[in-house]
């Protein structure tokens, strides 16, 4: 690992995975799973910044995913905006909401913070679920396409929906990873990580604890929102489930499973929890049992999450 920093190594590895994985894909179904992994990975990366760097827990992150998704569902219908602007709009709304709500919420610690974010997520879910006149309610609503495929068709290039979204979400994931990794090494990132270890110590050396926490919360909400927009555009249909509590827990599990403070871990966690149910369909009835078992084993034997624990073991065996 001498000449390469963790940052460059992670980015290179991710880029290689994105580019080379399709070689192994026998059908476009695999592109679809790949795209889902990248989208989930992006949302999880947001949580890595919040949970792994700053040490704050959010149980309501799917709420922001929901905002991003419904921005793309509602924006074109009610505001006549092109989809790409809706993605930006969703991210802006998420960031604003995170900023406004984050100020009071982030004063709370540990359990109280978790419960407050849980409440926020559930509120967003309930608004989407109950305001049927606007959002289609529990049955969901259609999303207009991004328009990229039509554009490519005009140039004579025909590309399947799954393939296209594989590449789009792959690129977005790389951008997300780049930002997250740079943040890790920046002064702001170091300040964030100091909160993780001790807020008191951080404040004694002049770090504005409240502001740093808020920054992390806002950034991670934008990650979640962009991921949500991608899900909506990819599926061309959204239901309130995307904003549900279960989805929040799924995202958090991905982050913790892969290694909460590791960008690569976010992608690994997302890969496991997205791909495993597809592999386990063979076992049908035992699917949930096996999933639970794998997670318990990781939590017991690899307590920092997969990526950091395994990296440490490898380093130890080399030296």
């Amino acid at each position: 690992m001498s000449g390469l920093s963790v940052r460059t190594a992670t980015l290179l590895a991710l880029a290689l995975i994105v580019v080379l994985a399709p070689v192994l894909f026998p059908s476009s179904f695999y592109y679809r799973v790949g795209a889902l992994i990248f989208v989930n990975g992006l949302a999880t990366m947001g949580l890595v910044i919040l949970v792994g760097y700053a040490g704050q827990v959010s149980l309501g992150h799917a709420g922001f995913v929901g905002i991003g998704a419904y921005a793309c569902a509602l924006g074109p219908v009610y505001l006549g905006l092109p989809q790409i602007l809706c993605v930006v709009l969703g991210a802006a709304i998420s960031a604003l909401l995170a900023f406004l709500v984050g100020r009071p919420i982030l004063k709370l610690k540990a359990h109280y913070l978790a419960v407050a974010t849980l409440g926020l997520g559930i509120l967003i879910y309930m608004v989407i679920y109950n305001e049927g006149w606007l959002t289609g309610g529990p049955d969901g609503m259609d999303v207009q396409p991004l328009g990229v495929r039509e554009l490519l068709k005009d140039y004579g290039i025909k590309v399947g929906s799954s393939e296209l979204w594989y590449w789009i979400s792959g690129v977005v994931l790389l951008v997300g990873a780049f930002v997250a990794l740079n943040l890790h090494n920046s002064p702001a990132g170091r300040a964030l990580r100091s909160l993780h270890d001790s807020e008191v110590a951080a404040s004694t050396i002049g770090i504005d604890v409240a502001r740093m926490k808020l920054t992390a919360f806002v950034i991670s909400s934008v990650y979640a929102s962009v991921a949500g927009s991608q899900v909506a555009l990819m599926n061309r249909f959204v239901t309130p489930d995307v904003a549900g509590f279960i989805h929040s827990v799924e995202l958090l599990t991905m982050a913790v499973l892969g290694g909460a403070a590791s960008v690569m871990g976010a992608v690994v966690g997302a890969t496991i929890l997205t791909a495993l149910p597809q592999v386990l369909t063979v076992f049908e009835d035992f699917e949930h049992v096996l999933l639970g078992l794998i997670m318990m084993l990781v939590m017991i034997f690899l307590r920092e999450g997969l990526v950091p624990s395994l990296a440490r073991r490898m380093r130890r065996s080399v030296s």
């Binding site: 179904f29 529990p138 899900v231 599926n235």
Partner: protein, 330 residues
């Protein structure tokens, strides 16, 4: 169970059926992924499934694009209205349940009603549909209240409805425990106009939950629930009795309408494949659309290019709860 039966009898057109099965957990995103998997990886020729409306709607674009016939098992009208080329469904719609209830009200000379609806997916959708079709039957909705899916007491809403002038009946579209609580509160308050429930509670557990309060409650339901009580002259009787016996023998559980919808969908599909004489998805689709006179557990199905459901109001039976059991109202 059905696939084994058919393959044991030599398959369809000499070809064995291979069943590919996934559980979408009623999650739209998962359903979409599995739909892609079926089309791209398993290369299926037709699909039966999607028992929630959200999951169905999320899968439709995949099957439409790939040109695979899809028979949905979800309730909402939006699935087949407007008609989509590759999409069919077997369960009757909420709108038809409302129609059936209103028909019965007309017969009893009821025209002014109150609605107390659950805000869960089912209750909400049916509530809207019932409000929508009311004018067609000359029904005047004089009071409307709602309750949350987890509420434990609906007395305030019912009191409000009961106080409305000229009230002749109350309708409660809902699913799960809510309607049972409404029924109990209704009896406790001693409201003396008839109470109508929806097909959403057409299961034995509703009668058990609501107890004596359920006495006299009317609701529309699939013929499947009252298989034994149908007169022998009823053309549907043999179908539903056979299905119920087979289901209960195979699973050891009491029959439910949801399994019946899947059974209907599967039967329609197999018949269509037989008629098509090939496993070409487009040919199968054309034959599904030509389904006529098929007697399923949900009623007689007559599909057409403008109707991908093919059921009419006769698919529902009006039931009344008497002495803790269903009885037919005719």
């Amino acid at each position: 169970m059905l696939v084994d039966e058919i393959n044991a009898a030599g398959g369809v057109n000499g070809e064995m059926i291979q069943l590919v099965m996934y559980d979408d957990g009623a999650d739209a995103n998962k359903a979409r992924t599995f739909a892609t998997r079926m089309v791209e990886d398993d290369e299926v020729v037709a699909v039966v499934g999607g028992s929630s409306t959200g999951a169905t709607m999320a899968m439709i674009p995949v099957f439409e694009e790939a040109g695979i016939p899809f028979i949905s098992l979800a309730g909402a009208v939006v699935i087949i209205d407007p008609v989509k080329k590759w999409v069919f469904k077997t369960p009757h719609t909420d709108r038809m349940a409302c129609g059936k209830i209103y028909e019965d009200m007309n017969k009893r000379g009821i025209s002014k009603i109150g609605i107390i609806g659950g805000t869960g997916g089912f209750g909400k959708s049916m509530h809207e549909q019932c409000v929508d079709v009311a004018p067609d039957y000359g029904i005047d909705i004089v009071a409307q209240e709602t309750y949350g899916p987890k509420d434990a007491d609906m007395t305030p809403q019912l009191t409000k409805i009961a106080g409305t002038e000229g009230l002749q009946a109350v309708l409660n579209p809902g699913f799960g425990q809510g309607p049972a609580i409404v029924t109990r509160n209704y009896a406790q308050l001693g409201i003396d106009v008839p109470l109508y429930q929806s097909h959403g509670v057409a299961s034995k557990s509703f009668i058990e939950l609501a107890g004596d309060a359920a006495e006299g409650v009317r609701l529309p339901a699939s013929a499947l629930l009252v298989a034994d009580k149908l007169p022998d002259s009823d053309p549907q009787k043999s179908v539903v009795v056979a299905y119920r016996d087979a289901y209960e023998a195979a699973t050891g559980e009491p029959v439910s309408t949801f399994g019946g919808h899947a059974y209907d969908g599967f039967k329609i599909l197999i018949a269509a494949i037989e008629r098509a004489g090939s496993s070409d998805p487009a040919a199968i689709r054309d034959e599904i659309e030509k389904t006529t006179g098929f007697m399923g557990t949900a009623g007689e199905v007559n599909m057409s290019p403008t109707d991908h459901l093919g059921l009419d109001l006769s698919a529902f039976r009006m039931l009344e709860i008497k002495d803790g059991d269903w009885t037919l109202v005719e």
